[in-house]
Symmetry: C2
Subunit: 236 residues, 2 copies
């Protein structure tokens, strides 16, 4: 937590917040902060700044906040990722948020197990929580958009062409020969398949709407690792 | 597990192995393999190929192996990484292995908590196991070298100059202005600090032996995410 992310309901006056639970624990146990210490804080979808601890006990912490700076800019990047195993999903969402993606879409694919769509980790509350974890890590406040696309064909035919319009369109594909481009500045829509890859029909559907298959080398990477490697290569 | 990694002691004859425990469970529960199915296999530090399941019950699986292909080439990359939190260490080691680093060094730094060095995750057995997980994910067989460097100053003064000799020397640093280079082909030694960064003295010691501080943008990434982003940018 490199930034304590504040929500509108945390405010008890114009410049003061009162926190309990997870954030209090983190401030006490990880930051080991004391009365009078300052912390980096930010308000969800607003500015970042400094927070002065004005009261602290076992139950609550009160912080006086002053917000002056803009959060770090987002990347002009939409990540479309095939739903990974539930175990991996949280880290994928937090990482994509932390790396600065503007928008994320979790997509179905032939090789995604149907049972994954029943995971409790796809609840609204968890999808929000994982993005908040990513923002806190990155020192950012602006929540990336996140959508679920449970049906591959209608999403790719009807919605993705609009989403990806006027962006560089790439799909990471183990069988591709062209390496992924590096150090781009233009907006990009990057599609990442399931660990077993997209099936030929799926790749063809993506190619048909202008997505170029690009390679990430000969090693099979976990979704989370592949995503960080691709974003590092494209933008950082 | 995109490759079932075999050890010399698994062989019951020249071309047959018998497996129990973790690998058996994975073959049954994740691959859902049956008698007569073939799997991708490889022998530690040797070739990769196909394995035919010739016997399978609750206790053991027997596989007839034929090895013809070389494992994927390693990157000419040494990763030197400040010891992360124990919770993160396993993933950092597995990821670096999976991404293809030839060698890893786990380094002390001012902002590494002393207690981290007492973690059971630094046992020989766990350090081997995490590299095996990374090899199984990547479809590789060649174990990257891994060393622990518990004392920053003597390591950087005496050992690192030899290790990094004739390689591109980079240290990822939040305050650096120069962006990390992309798409290199030459050998590289890449140093990644603790999440709080190296202190000025440490950066100076690294600069003194030819390491250039490079930036990864304005966001604070977790060690594992930063590592994948940097490797994706440098090599993939």
């Amino acid at each position: 937590m490199n930034l304590v992310l504040l929500l509108p309901e945390d405010f008890i006056s114009e410049q003061h917040v009162r926190l309990t639970g997870r954030r209090l624990e983190h401030i006490v146990n990880v930051h080991r902060a004391k009365l009078g210490d300052t912390l980096r804080v930010g308000v969800l979808n607003e500015k970042v700044g400094r927070g002065l601890i004005t009261a602290l006990d076992n139950q609550t912490v009160e912080i006086e906040v002053s917000l002056e700076q803009e959060p770090p800019p987002k990347l002009p990047l939409t990540i479309v990722v095939a739903l990974p195993r539930p175990k991996v999903l949280n880290r994928v969402i937090a990482s994509a948020t932390c790396l600065g993606a503007s928008r994320m879409i979790i997509l179905n694919a032939w090789k995604v197990e149907k049972s994954y769509w029943k995971s409790l980790r796809l609840s609204e509350a968890n999808l929000l929580h994982q993005r908040i974890i990513g923002l806190e890590q990155a020192g950012d406040t602006v929540l990336p958009k996140l959508y679920l696309a449970r049906f591959f064909a209608p999403f790719v035919q009807n919605e993705l062409p609009v989403i990806a319009s006027q962006t560089l369109r790439l799909v990471a594909h183990p069988l591709a020969i062209v390496p992924c481009p590096a150090c781009i500045i233009e907006p990009c829509t990057l599609v990442i398949g399931p660990e077993g890859g997209f099936i030929p029909n799926e790749i063809q559907a993506l190619e048909k709407i202008g997505f170029e298959p690009v390679s990430l080398g000969t090693r099979t990477l976990r979704t989370e690792t592949a995503m960080a490697a691709l974003i590092g290569r494209l933008y950082l």
